[in-house]
């Protein structure tokens, strides 16, 4: 570049060009330092690219996909994860109830969820939001989920944890143009993260702000990585897809409690099988004054609130 162009826009362009070239150099060096295909073998990269929708894969194809996920996690996080494909239990539809007179807003559930579901620690994404509202107020537009007082509960406030309601007539599923999200036979609305194109129509369709878009590659310390994972649940996700609460599918399908319920110190959360008339959730539905959020929308959430 000539000296005349060294100031003003041209000069900036020159600088930008040089930075770009330098970046290119670093990029090339990185590409040389890392194995090709983003750390995968050519076969893995090829197979991932041509991987089918979860519901169209044969058992062998799913098995191969699970192994690819495990190899990729080993490469990305240096952790040996166990990615499973536990099927739904017959005769089980999950339901959740929260006792809002006992919830104190500690946010233990939020952070247990982040850990359990391998959410990026810097990604600004959390599946559960605990709303703080004035007592007697149920206008969600007045709610604040960024509350940070010295101690909770704050006098005159009440707390309302909100997460995916696992609607029985889910509007997000109808909105998806590529059928990357659907309701499983046990009532859990799941996402095939490898099939999702990241268009975020489902986020616009969800009336509960329960779906979240991951803008960044999740940063998870290797020692905090949860190695118990499920294809449709908490396995490491790619960047740029939509995620949501899946009732801890990797735990609940094996009879364990969801992580948020286990973490709740107040016992406000009650989870169980809606089809079992003797279950705890059915006792709550039969004996407590329950309500659902935005019930008038007709999405039939399988998530109830009650107070006693």
């Amino acid at each position: 570049m000539s000296k005349n162009n060294s100031s003003g826009d041209g000069g900036n362009f020159d600088k930008a060009r040089r930075n770009f070239l330098r970046g290119l150099g670093i990029g090339t060096a990185a590409a040389v330092a890392r194995p090709a295909w983003g750390g995968q073998t050519f076969q893995d990269a090829f197979a991932s690219f041509f991987q089918k929708d979860y519901r169209r894969m044969s058992a062998e194809e799913i098995e191969a996909a699970l192994e690819r996920i495990e190899r990729k996690a080993q490469d990305r996080y240096d952790v040996a994860i166990d990615c499973q494909n536990t099927p739904p239990q017959p005769g089980v539809v999950y339901g959740y109830a929260i006792n809002i007179s006992r919830c104190k807003g500690y946010r233990d559930c939020v952070h247990a969820c982040v850990k359990e579901n391998n959410l990026g620690r810097d990604s600004q994404m959390q599946y559960i939001r605990v709303l703080q509202l004035d007592q007697g107020d149920f206008n969600l537009e007045h709610s604040d989920h960024y509350y940070e007082p010295e101690t909770v509960p704050v006098e005159g406030k009440h707390y309302l944890p909100v997460q995916c309601m696992q609607c029985d007539d889910p509007p997000c599923v109808k909105a998806c143009p590529v059928e990357a999200t659907w309701m499983e036979p046990d009532g859990i609305v799941v996402v095939d993260y490898d099939w999702c194109i990241g268009c975020r129509y489902c986020m616009a369709a969800c009336p509960y702000w329960a779906r979240h878009f991951n803008w960044t590659d999740p940063e998870i310390p290797a020692e905090e990585m949860n190695t118990n994972t499920h294809y449709l649940g908490n396995r490491p996700r790619p960047r740029g897809v939509v995620e949501k609460c899946h009732f801890c599918i990797h735990r609940t399908r094996k009879g364990q409690q969801p992580a948020c319920m286990e973490a709740c110190p107040t016992g406000s959360r009650i989870f169980g099988n809606l089809l079992d008339p003797d279950s705890e959730i059915r006792y709550v539905l039969a004996n407590k004054q329950v309500f659902r959020l935005k019930e008038d929308l007709g999405t039939e959430p399988k998530f109830w609130y009650f107070s006693d």
Partner: protein, 200 residues
């Protein structure tokens, strides 16, 4: 009709002749026989005695003269009993003679591991909810064997209200967004009121 009466008779006779298993306490008194609320599933309760610092109480109390008088305590026991706000006293729940046991209002002895039976004497609604799973905390699973925490795991029996504590950190505010606390839609400038609109 006759057969039904017969069935009832047989049931009553069985109930009279076959008493439920009861714990024997040191004095030969029968411990409480509470069969639970009808329709509940069986469950285990997490034992409490291992966590009790001073248990067994007879370590000290064996050498002390029982004193039923209501008085301020000055030893290791806090006399500031918040539970009941002055309406109850140690011996409402603790037995004077058998220090290692609790007692119900009917003077039945209850093991410390089954403290919920004492709580249930007054808080029957909560107790029933706890049996059916609408109150309290189940451990580990939603399916299979039920294990519940005892009332006294979460509530300090002498001051049962749960104390306020610090919440876990708030979620980060999305990049590019600004946190404006307490601003409802109607107060925001982009929502004109009809009057303002007419003025313009």
């Amino acid at each position: 009709m006759n057969s039904r009466i017969l069935q009832c008779l047989v049931c009553i006779i069985c109930l009279v002749l076959i008493p439920a298993e009861a714990q024997e306490t040191p004095d030969g008194q029968q411990a409480l026989r509470f069969e639970g609320y009808p329709g509940t599933h069986e469950f285990d309760v997490v034992p409490r005695k291992d966590d009790l610092f001073f248990y067994p109480c007879t370590q000290c109390h064996a050498a002390m003269e029982p004193n039923p008088e209501i008085r301020p305590l000055n030893a290791i026991h806090d006399s500031d009993l918040e539970h009941g706000r002055g309406r109850i006293w140690c011996l409402s729940c603790h037995d004077l003679e058998n220090r290692d046991y609790l007692r119900t209002l009917l003077a039945e002895l209850v093991d410390f591991d089954a403290a919920h039976l004492v709580c249930g004497g007054c808080h029957a609604n909560r107790h029933e909810d706890w049996y059916f799973g609408a109150h309290g905390k189940r451990i580990g699973n939603w399916q299979g064997d039920r294990t519940l925490y005892n009332c006294t795991h979460c509530h300090n029996a002498h001051s049962p209200a749960i104390k306020a504590r610090a919440p876990k950190p708030a979620p980060p505010v999305r990049a590019g967004l600004k946190l404006e606390r307490g601003i409802a839609h109607e107060k925001s400038s982009i929502w004109d009121t009809p009057e303002e609109h007419e003025e313009q």
